[in-house]
C-alpha cells in the first residue's frame, strides 16, 4: 500500500492486504488514505470494556423508563436522562435474528463465512450485535438447518483479551 502504511503498521492487529481495483481503460490516479485515529471511549464505555476483560457483560438501567440497555450507555436514548445504575447481565439469551455472511470485501474484520446476529440477553431490553459460532459454517444449507433449531445462545470468551467487543469470541447455541 502507501508509504504511510509503514508509519502505522504497529497499530494494526488485523491483517490488511493490498487492494486491487478492477481494470479501467482511461488514466487514473491511486489515492489511498492512510490516517491514524485515537478514539476517546469516555467513562461509560471504558467501564463496559473493562467489564468484558473480566468476562462480565454490563448494561445500564434508566431511572425513568426502567429499561436496561446493553452495551452500557451514558444516557437513555428515549428519556435523555443519565443512566447511572449498572447491571451485570446474564451471559445467555435468545436469538432474535441472524445472517450468514459469505462474501469478501476490503477491510472485513473477520474472514468469511461468519454469522452476524442480534442476541437478546436475559434481563436486557434491547438486543446486542455479535457473532454466532462454535460449529462448521462451510455449508450454507447445513447452517440454515442448524440455525432453524437454535433459540438460545451463550457467550464464549476469547482466550486473549484486549478490552474490546471481540473479547466475546462468539455466542454458541445451547
Amino acid at each position: 500500500m502507501a508509504e504511510k502504511y509503514k508509519l502505522i503498521k504497529d497499530l494494526i492487529r488485523l491483517e490488511i492486504e493490498d487492494f486491487t481495483f478492477p481494470k479501467k481503460e482511461y488514466r487514473t490516479g491511486r489515492h489511498d488514505t492512510v490516517l491514524p485515529y485515537n478514539w476517546a471511549l469516555g467513562p461509560t464505555w471504558t467501564r463496559f470494556f473493562d467489564g468484558l476483560k473480566e468476562e462480565k457483560i454490563f448494561g445500564t438501567r434508566c431511572k425513568k423508563c426502567n429499561k436496561v440497555l446493553v452495551p452500557a450507555r451514558t444516557f437513555c436514548p428515549i428519556c435523555y436522562e443519565d443512566m447511572e445504575e449498572w447491571v451485570e447481565l446474564p451471559q445467555e439469551g435468545s436469538l432474535e435474528t441472524w445472517c450468514l455472511v459469505n462474501y469478501k470485501y476490503y477491510g472485513q474484520v473477520k474472514k468469511p463465512p461468519y454469522i452476524i446476529a442480534q442476541i437478546r440477553l436475559d434481563k436486557a431490553d434491547c438486543s446486542l450485535t455479535h457473532f454466532i459460532g462454535g460449529f462448521s459454517l462451510s455449508d450454507p444449507g447445513k447452517v440454515r438447518n442448524k440455525m432453524k433449531t437454535v433459540s438460545r445462545v451463550k457467550a464464549v470468551w476469547s482466550k486473549e483479551k484486549h478490552s474490546d467487543i471481540y473479547d466475546i469470541a462468539y455466542f454458541k447455541p445451547v
Partner: protein, 160 residues
C-alpha cells in the same frame, strides 16, 4: 461489580481506505504535456481567458474550454510561504518547503499547484526572506525523468 479503575481510555486505530480516481480526458492531456516538458492551458471562447491547469470548462462562463494553448514557463510570484512544521505523513526530512502561487506570463490566473520555490539553500531563513519576494520572476525546472504528474516540475527557481 467492576468499579471505574482508571481514567477513561483512548483506543488507537487507523483508517486505511484505497481509492482510484479517474483523471478525465482534460487532466490526462494536461499531464501528458508535462512528460514533454510542456505546460498546457485552455482558452475560453467566451471570455478569452487562458487558464492553467487546463480545464474542461470555464468556471465563470460555464462553457467548454476546447482550445489548448502551450504557455510560457516563466512567471511572477503572487504569494509565498515558508512551511516549517510536520504532521502525520510529513516527516522532518521533508521540510522546510517554500510554497508559492505563481502567475505565468500570458495566463489569466495564478497557479498554486504544488509549486515550490527552490534552487538555493532554503534552510537559510534569512536568505529566503532576501530572495523570495512577491513579484519576483521564476522559471520552471523540470525533473530529468518525468511520469506525467505534478512532481515532474521539480521546483521553480528565482531568476534575477
Amino acid at each position: 461489580m467492576v468499579e471505574q479503575k482508571e481514567k477513561p481510555r483512548k483506543v488507537a486505530s487507523m483508517g486505511l481506505v484505497p481509492y482510484e480516481m479517474a483523471l478525465g480526458p482534460t487532466w490526462t492531456r494536461f499531464f501528458e504535456g508535462f512528460k514533454e516538458k510542456k505546460i498546457l492551458g485552455t482558452k475560453c471562447n467566451t471570455c478569452g481567458r487562458v487558464l492553467v491547469p487546463a480545464r474542461p470548462f470555464c468556471p465563470r462562463c460555464f462553457e467548454p474550454m476546447e482550445e489548448w494553448v502551450e504557455v510560457a514557463q516563466e512567471g511572477t510570484i503572487v504569494t509565498w510561504s515558508y512551511v516549517n512544521y510536520t504532521y502525520f505523513g510529513v516527516t522532518p526530512d521533508m521540510i522546510p518547503v517554500i510554497a508559492a502561487t505563481i502567475k505565468l506570463d500570458g495566463v489569466d490566473c495564478a497557479m498554486g499547484m504544488s509549486t515550490r520555490i527552490g534552487g538555493f539553500d532554503i534552510k537559510d531563513f534569512d536568505l529566503v526572506t532576501k530572495k523570495v519576494k512577491v513579484g519576483a520572476r521564476v522559471k520552471a525546472v523540470w525533473r530529468r525523468k518525468r511520469q506525467g504528474n505534478f512532481r515532474d516540475i521539480d521546483y521553480w527557481k528565482i531568476i534575477e
